[in-house]
């Protein structure tokens, strides 16, 4: 008789830590490096305690040299290691963009398939902590522009726990974007929760009237919006993309073919963003299934401001999502 798995309460932060712990235990080639991942315990306390457990050889504090340590991660991956490189926030990753784009994403191709780069880069992303315009952006959509890397956006405790191992086993570079507001997210997962898919989107809430497509930090808000829409008799289906590259359009298209309407919720900017990409693909592949124009709720086109009310106004929020969905449905308000 099958036994139901024991559920344990955990947080997103603990789930990421547990995933790293497991990887470090399972595979000698895995090591973690980044700014303040060791003695400090990680900027967001994700790696707290790992230094004590695994020692300074495998939990390596680095100088503030994003380009050098991301590049060193690439080199180490080329020479047989499975590094996890933590970049404090997505804005800082721009200092390493040369290494990520010009090396990590290209070496396999430039070398005609000879050298692959099994590297994992984790970084915090997103707004909501009043950190203003240099620590709050959502650039994962940008990274999804780049062929040669994989872009993951775990939005749940389960995904935070389960995405790291398959990412480490992927022969190519994987970027994991952790929305910093999610670190305190609580949830229950099976005690023995294991790897999850890093290829597929998932339907987080079923509905028949409109498909809400989102990922990462906007998932919770979108689910909340779906609940409110239910009160108007609107059944919203919520899709968590989970990976921005590859983009699992199969799941998205199946849903839109059912609901005939789509709204994308993206904390990234609208212009040229991942929402634009999804819209285009819907138009390309599901035009004759659309009963209303595709709509988007994205961040406003401003650097994220400091003041609380301004920051809140800059990024997608539940009322905006609800209003946009109602508009797609043809409600007058």
């Amino acid at each position: 008789m099958p036994v139901a798995p024991t559920l344990v309460k955990t947080t997103y932060r603990e789930a990421v830590r547990a995933a790293m712990q497991e990887a470090l235990e399972r595979d000698d080639r895995v090591f973690l490096m980044g700014e303040d991942v060791g003695a400090y315990g990680g900027c967001y306390a994700v790696s707290l305690g790992l230094l004590e457990e695994f020692g300074p050889e495998r939990i390596r504090d680095t100088p503030l040299s994003e380009s050098a340590f991301v590049g060193a991660g690439i080199g180490a991956a080329l020479a047989g290691m499975r590094p996890i490189v933590e970049v404090m926030t997505v804005n800082f990753s721009l200092l390493a963009l040369d290494q990520i784009l010009n090396n990590a994403a290209t070496i396999l191709h430039m070398s005609g398939g000879q050298f692959n780069v099994p590297l994992v880069i984790r970084m915090a992303t997103g707004a909501g902590r009043q950190l203003a315009a240099q620590h709050s952006h959502s650039l994962e959509g940008w990274y999804a522009h780049i062929p040669g890397i994989r872009v993951l956006t775990p939005a749940t405790v389960e995904d935070a726990r389960g995405m790291l191992w398959p990412a480490l086993m992927d022969p190519d570079p994987v970027l994991i974007f952790e929305n910093a507001l999610l670190y305190n997210l609580e949830g229950e997962i099976a005690e023995d929760a294991g790897p999850v898919s890093i290829d597929q989107a998932i339907v987080r809430h079923s509905g028949t009237d409109i498909t809400l497509i989102t990922y990462g930090g906007s998932l919770g808000k979108t689910l909340q919006a779906a609940k409110e829409l239910q009160r108007d008799g609107i059944g919203a289906e919520v899709i968590d993309l989970r990976t921005l590259r590859p983009l699992d359009m199969g799941t998205v298209l199946a849903s839109v073919r059912k609901t005939n309407r789509a709204l994308i919720v993206d904390e990234g900017w609208r212009s040229g963003g991942i929402s634009a990409e999804i819209t285009t693909r819907l138009v390309e592949e599901a035009f004759y299934d659309l009963d209303a124009p595709v709509a988007r709720v994205c961040s406003e086109e401003v650097p994220i401001p400091y003041a609380k009310h301004m920051e809140e106004a800059a990024i997608p929020q539940v009322p905006k999502i609800v209003a946009a969905a109602r508009e797609v449905m043809g409600f007058d308000e």
Binding site: G233, I234, G235, D289, L290, A292, D332
Partner: protein, 468 residues
């Protein structure tokens, strides 16, 4: 004998100008020697030769610009054979797409046509006149010149142009293009698949767009088409210096104030409330809605309205007016719907004969009323002929409504929010969605006993939603 050619120093170099020869015929050259100076888009660059030999002939003189690959000089072999043939074989660049795709020119090249110019040259015209003639579409040969020596001037051209205009029939006014019917891509596909005639389908989506829902309506003629919308009723202007909107609001507040004051002053209210388990209704509704397209989706309020109307049939003392010192029961059941307006204020237009309508009709009426109330398109009869009022404040999170009767009506039914609450049934406790319904009734027209029966009837009807 090999050719020394204009080298390519980059993909962005198309040609070069030979500035200076460093060698002359008869000179011996060897691999790596600088033999000429060539000007490029970047600057002058010294170019080298990649073979040994003797310059036998210079083919391009100094100062001349030639494309990359053009032979510049002929180099005689120095006796050791043609090892340096590479420089002559030019340019076999990789194929852009596939080697097979070669575009060939078929047939003989066509010689350029020689334009006939004599007609033009026989007319003397000023340059301005020539241009004007072209602009006005006038043949210069049709114009007799009045200028010096019979030269055609701009005025001459204009005169002829006017003459031509007068004789030509006026161009018909361009008809306004019929505006393209807006239709969603999905609806467009379905029209084709279902073999429908797009012209007969009315679009009710945003901006009059035809959507899937419109097609479903068109495909099922049993559903009556909504009546054409009536013109907005005029509101009596109120004299004041404030804006029309403020005036309107002020007038409304005064009207509400007067009616409510009268109610509180004159009507002896009594109040009853009843908690109702609506789990059956809600689960029935959920299943029912699964079968329905979104536009025909039902909301819980519709069930409450229908239940109220049916209960009124059982207890007619709730329905009618207190007029001239006596109760005048109403045959018809017109449910006044309390609707709050966005700018503030409240109105209670009626859904007529609610007891005789099915849920779909009630839903349509409800949507329609809310929409028109807020956009200002109600008929005056709707505003005045309600026989009883229902107010649903659950959306606002209100648990319990203590109603004020709208005179001359004699009852007001209030619905609160549906919330999960502990509920005991057959000695078992469980969580159920619970709704509190209240009645405010006029003691002159009925008493508490009848009021109690009325509320219980609503509760009973809601337990059997299929029958609604």
């Amino acid at each position: 004998m090999n050719d020394f050619v204009m080298p390519s120093l980059g993909a962005d170099m198309d040609d070069g100008r030979l500035l200076e020869w460093y060698v002359k015929p008869g000179d011996a050259v060897k691999r790596g020697d600088i033999v000429a100076l060539v000007d490029t888009d970047k600057a002058a660059i010294e170019i080298e030769i990649f073979e040994d030999g003797v310059v036998s002939e210079l083919l391009v003189p100094e100062g001349e610009k030639v494309p990359v690959g053009t032979p510049l000089a002929r180099i005689g072999g120095s006796g050791e054979g043609a090892a340096g043939g590479m420089a002559a074989t030019l340019p076999e660049t990789p194929p852009a797409v596939a080697p097979e795709t070669v575009i060939e020119t078929v047939g003989k090249p066509v010689p350029p046509e020689v334009p006939v110019t004599q007609a033009v040259s026989s007319v003397h015209a000023t340059p301005a006149a020539r241009r004007h003639a072209q602009e006005r579409g006038v043949e210069l040969s049709d114009v007799s010149g009045t200028g010096r020596h019979g030269t055609v001037t701009k005025a001459d051209v204009e005169a002829v142009a006017k003459e031509l205009e007068a004789t030509l029939p006026a161009e018909p006014e361009p008809q306004p293009k019929p505006s393209r019917k807006r239709i969603s891509p999905l609806a467009r596909r379905l029209v084709k698949e279902l073999g429908l005639d797009l012209a007969t389908i009315e679009g009710t989506g945003p901006g009059g767009t035809v959507t899937k829902a419109d097609l479903e309506r068109a495909a099922v003629p049993a559903v009556p088409k909504p009546e054409p919308k009536p013109a907005a009723t005029r509101v009596e202007p109120v004299k004041a210096e404030s804006s029309p909107r403020e005036q309107k609001q002020a007038a409304m507040r005064r009207a509400i104030g007067a009616a409510m004051a009268k109610s509180k002053r004159e009507i002896p209210h009594y109040y009853l409330s009843n908690r109702i388990d609506v789990s059956r209704s809600l689960s029935w509704l959920e299943e029912e809605n699964l079968e329905r397209p979104i536009t025909n989706r039902l909301v819980p309020a519709v069930l409450l309205l229908k239940a109220t109307a049916l209960a009124i049939r059982e207890v007619p003392e709730m329905n009618g007016f207190w007029l001239d010192g006596g109760f005048k029961p109403s045959e018809d059941i017109h449910l006044g719907m309390g609707i709050s307006l966005r700018g503030g204020g409240l109105i209670a237009p009626a859904i007529h004969n609610a007891d005789q309508k099915d849920l779909d009709e009630l839903m349509a009426d409800l949507r329609d009323l809310v929409k028109r109330s807020r956009s200002g398109g109600l008929k005056s009869s709707e505003m005045t002929d309600a026989t009883v009022t229902v107010t649903n404040m659950g959306d606002l999170g209100v648990d319990l409504v203590y109603g004020v009767i709208y005179p001359p009506q004699v009852a007001l039914i209030g619905f609160g929010k549906i919330t999960d609450q502990p509920w005991v049934e057959n000695g078992m406790i469980g969580a159920r969605p619970i709704l509190t319904v209240t009645l405010a009734a006029d003691h002159r027209a009925s008493d508490g006993h009848r009021g109690g029966i009325f509320l219980t009837t609503i509760a009973k009807v809601l337990q059997d939603p299929e029958a609604l």
